[in-house]
């Protein structure tokens, strides 16, 4: 069995699955249940100044569902903890005492003045927590008050607040980033400059779920009026993966440890995040949809996967896929893929044909003359776009196969083993010779 123990910034946990700062980590009751279920660590729901904030007493969560009511995306307008500061401290102290082998990190959010950080950070650290996570990501409510995403959207603020926290903390400081920005590299570099030990990402994405089709108001509302919330769950994973990979392959930030967050629902999602540069993952939505028990499969799934790959620990997986991520301009324009349909597996639904015909390159032909429905790829038109593979309901029925020799019948050009990208392409006005 592969070793699942995790050492993130010196914070040890029996596995790399932490619960993200969110409703599941709001109080000792939940956190105790999470640890009983086997979670490796928690980021305690964000602490703020006293007097504590208040939450709405109406819909805080809404989901986007498939027709069989599987949750695809999840929206929330809940704010940070709405319990007194001291109550949280007392419970954190007790939990850390009861569960010394688990990671307990305090998520915090304070205003942009040093005094507040100076006042709160040492008292929180005194509970025995393993680290801090700075919530610069919450996109709703708190951002209206100059905190959360309002800080995370200004690199200078990130740097400043990180410096303050580092000044008063002795344990590691993780900075949680908002995805509601244009380029995640700027906030990540600001964390480095501020002396932060790691980043965690992503926090939630600004969102409105839908309208109510009867009242034609936004949905949901609190007594008739609604506000945008933060979007998370499976639907956001690709956005999160890109941001994680961007930081992991950026020269300046490539050694900055990353805690991956955003739609982790199974061990496979964890593999995605870790291979693209994260050292561990944090989970919220999946727990809020299924309860804490889902961690069991995450652990055995990841462990079995590592075994199959011949890896002894999670550490060996970290960043494995990062070297394969590059800029578009460096993609090999000499490479030629063609779609190949396995006729034995084809169930003849024709979706590959109609989407290619209507929306792409007219490269999948249909014949029904013999009474049999037959779908075949026309290599003269196929650009290897992968749309057919993407819509085919049968696993491994259509695959993209690279041409290694001969002539591409679409372009009439000979297949070349040489790599040639946009930077040297004749159509590029800025080409380098």
């Amino acid at each position: 069995m592969a070793d699942l123990t995790s050492n993130f910034l010196g914070i040890k946990s029996p596995n790399p699955f932490w619960l993200a700062s969110a409703p599941p980590t709001d109080k000792a009751y939940n956190v105790n249940r999470a640890f009983e279920a086997g979670w490796g660590g928690v980021s305690w729901k964000t602490l703020g100044e006293d007097p504590h904030i208040v939450n709405v007493n109406g819909p805080r969560y809404t989901t986007m569902m498939s027709n069989d009511r599987r949750v695809i995306g999840f929206n929330n307008i809940e704010l940070i903890t709405d319990r007194p500061f001291q109550v949280n401290l007392k419970e954190m102290r007790q939990v850390k005492r009861d569960w010394p082998d688990r990671a307990v990190v305090a998520s915090v959010m304070f205003p942009m003045n040093e005094a507040s950080w100076a006042k709160h950070i040492p008292i929180i650290e005194d509970t025995g927590i393993d680290g801090f996570e700075l919530n610069f990501g919450c996109p709703h409510g708190m951002s209206e008050r100059g905190m959360g995403a309002a800080v995370g959207q200004v690199p200078e603020y990130i740097k400043q607040a990180t410096e303050w926290c580092k000044k008063y903390a002795t344990v590691p400081v993780i900075v949680k980033l908002t995805p509601n920005i244009t380029d995640v590299i700027y906030p990540a570099e600001a964390v480095l400059e501020g002396g932060g030990d790691a980043v965690s990402l992503i926090n939630t994405i600004n969102s409105i779920m839908r309208v109510d089709y009867d009242s034609l108001t936004m949905f949901p509302t609190t007594g008739g009026m609604g506000t945008h919330g933060g979007y998370c769950g499976e639907a956001v994973k690709p956005i999160a993966l890109n941001m994680v990979a961007e930081i992991a392959r950026n020269e300046k930030t490539k050694n900055l440890p990353i805690s991956g967050i955003g739609g982790v629902s199974t061990w496979k999602d964890a593999v995605d995040f870790i291979a693209l540069g994260a050292s561990n993952v944090q989970v919220c939505t999946a727990a809020m949809v299924y309860g804490f028990k889902i961690v069991e499969d995450m652990k055995t799934g990841l462990s079995n996967f590592l075994d199959e790959k011949g890896m002894n620990s999670v550490d060996e997986l970290i960043g494995k896929a990062v070297p394969s991520v590059t800029d578009w301009k460096f993609l090999n324009l000499n490479h030629v893929d063609k779609a190949v349909i396995d006729q034995d597996k084809c169930i003849k639904c024709g979706r590959c044909h109609i989407v290619c015909e209507d929306t792409s390159h007219q490269a999948i032909e249909y014949s029904s003359e013999s009474g049999d429905r037959v779908f075949t790829v026309n290599d003269d038109e196929c650009v290897g776009c992968n749309l057919c593979v993407s819509v085919c309901p049968v696993v491994d029925c259509i695959s993209m196969v690279a041409m290694t020799s001969g002539t591409d019948p679409r372009t009439g050009k000979e297949i070349s083993s040489e790599v040639a990208d946009w930077t040297t392409h004749e159509n590029n006005p800025l080409k380098v010779s």
């Binding site: 027709n67 069989d68 169930i347 003849k348 639904c349 109609i354 249909y366």
Partner: protein
């Protein structure tokens, strides 16, 4: 119609074999309708195929992926519109179509996981939503001043009448029976059309207006084909098959030997199924849907032993495999290769039936083996097919072949002003859905003919 009623109640032939409650339960819906969540989940299974095989397999050309997509998006009116605009009897067809041989047989999910999308149940879900709420989806075009006679108020006739009414024509529908619907009302197994659905559907269809109904009018009696041709701009014959085939055995008239079609009609019309006379040992002669229907329904009424005796092999049976399985599920025995030899009577009632045991020859025909088999029977149901009543048709040089009306692809007969469809035409396949299609195609052709040069 020659038919022998059961003359008297005896030890083995009696009513009240089961309680009213038991019979009610037995004759409830064969398939429960889908709940909204079931419908959404099932609709999600549709792959929205291109040039969809299910649609191609549908005799009435329903855009199956199209209506399922509308169910998926909660657009039930749109879904019903897609169905009913091709097949106004979409509700009944959802209940009685042999989907396992038509659309669901063609579903590509069969290749993927051997479980097709439940197209029939989804179609019922969509059509029920407008029928139950009385949502009228059709309106009549401007009056054309043309009038058309429709003979027979079954699926073919009413389908034709509805389409012609939509197109602005004036229709008179004649039917010999008291109630409209033809076999939908008098023939389909009771557990496929519960809660008086056939009448509910007819009411919904006729609600469009412009269709005048004349019941108690039989062709060749109160009305003649010649008269209709004179009186109307066009005539559609959807008169079905008015009489049943006989065994041609010498003592066929003895008590206990019954036409299945007539027994089913009684069963469908009675409010007290528990009062129907039911035999203890029942033999059904035939191999089609009617044979299955009477066998299963006899079981549901409390018969102890029901055997279907079919003269050829399993594969030659007209009843689908699904229907044969349904019969077996209800403990009906199906015996193949039995050809009726003689009825054995006990005093005044049939007591058994003797068969020649047949064997399949290489050329596909069957030959008597010389062996015989006798099955105990208090009731013998004849379900060996129906035939066209030709009185009232033949005098008019209407072309018939094999006892059926000859039509072209537009369902036009040999007579200039006469079209026909449903069971009465040559090569008709006895399906409700095909009858509906015949009526629709005839209506389109009639409309084109009547409005040409207008």
């Amino acid at each position: 119609m020659s038919n022998n009623k059961i003359k008297s109640e005896g030890v083995n032939i009696k009513s009240h074999r089961l309680s009213k409650k038991e019979i009610e339960d037995n004759f409830s819906d064969l398939h429960s309708p889908l709940t909204p969540i079931e419908a959404l989940i099932e609709a999600d299974r549709c792959y929205f195929c291109y040039d969809a095989p299910c649609t191609k397999a549908c005799p009435s050309d329903i855009d199956v992926p199209g209506f399922i997509q509308s169910i998926r998006s909660d657009n039930l009116t749109g879904a019903a519109e897609k169905i009913l605009s091709e097949n106004i009897f979409g509700g009944m067809c959802a209940r009685d179509c042999p989907t396992e041989e038509l659309c669901q047989q063609a579903c590509v999910r069969n290749d993927h996981e051997e479980k097709p999308v439940e197209i029939g149940l989804l179609q019922r879900y969509a059509t029920d939503s407008v029928l139950n709420n009385g949502v009228q989806l059709f309106s009549r075009e401007e009056n054309t001043g043309k009038s058309i006679a429709v003979v027979g108020a079954g699926p073919a006739g009413i389908s034709c009448a509805h389409r012609l009414a939509v197109l602005g024509h004036k229709i008179t529908v004649y039917d010999a029976k008291d109630k409209l619907g033809g076999l939908n009302e008098y023939g389909i197994a009771a557990y496929k059309s519960t809660n008086d659905f056939a009448q509910q559907e007819i009411d919904y269809i006729l609600d469009i207006g412009g269709i005048n109904i004349e019941t108690g009018m039989e062709l060749g009696k109160q009305i003649t084909l010649e008269g209709l041709q004179k009186q109307f701009d066009a005539v559609f014959l959807g008169c079905g098959l008015g009489t049943v085939n006989q065994l041609n055995l010498h003592n066929e008239n003895i008590s206990g030997v019954i036409d299945a079609v007539e027994y089913i009609a009684n069963l469908r019309q009675t409010n007290n199924k528990d009062e129907l006379m039911v035999g203890k040992h029942i033999v059904v002669i035939g191999g089609g849907m009617t044979a299955i229907d009477i066998a299963v329904q006899s079981k549901l009424l409390g018969a102890e032993q029901v055997t279907i005796a079919y003269r050829r092999g399993k594969n030659a049976m007209a009843a689908s495999e699904y229907e044969q399985a349904l019969a077996k599920k209800h403990d009906v025995q199906i015996q193949y290769n039995l050809s009726p030899k003689q009825l054995i009577a006990d005093e005044s009632n049939v007591s058994a039936m003797e068969f020649d045991v047949m064997k399949l020859q290489n050329d596909g025909s069957t030959k008597a083996t010389g062996e015989n088999l006798t099955l105990k029977a208090d009731v013998v149901f004849k379900a060996i097919g129906q035939k066209l009543v030709t009185e009232g048709l033949t005098d008019n040089s209407l072309e018939l072949e094999k006892g059926r009306i000859v039509v072209d692809e537009h369902r036009k007969t040999s007579l200039t002003k006469v079209w026909a469809g449903g069971d009465c035409i040559l090569d008709g396949d006895n399906l409700t859905v095909s009858a509906v299609q015949d009526g629709k195609l005839a209506a389109i052709s009639i409309n084109e003919t009547l409005t040409q040069g207008a």
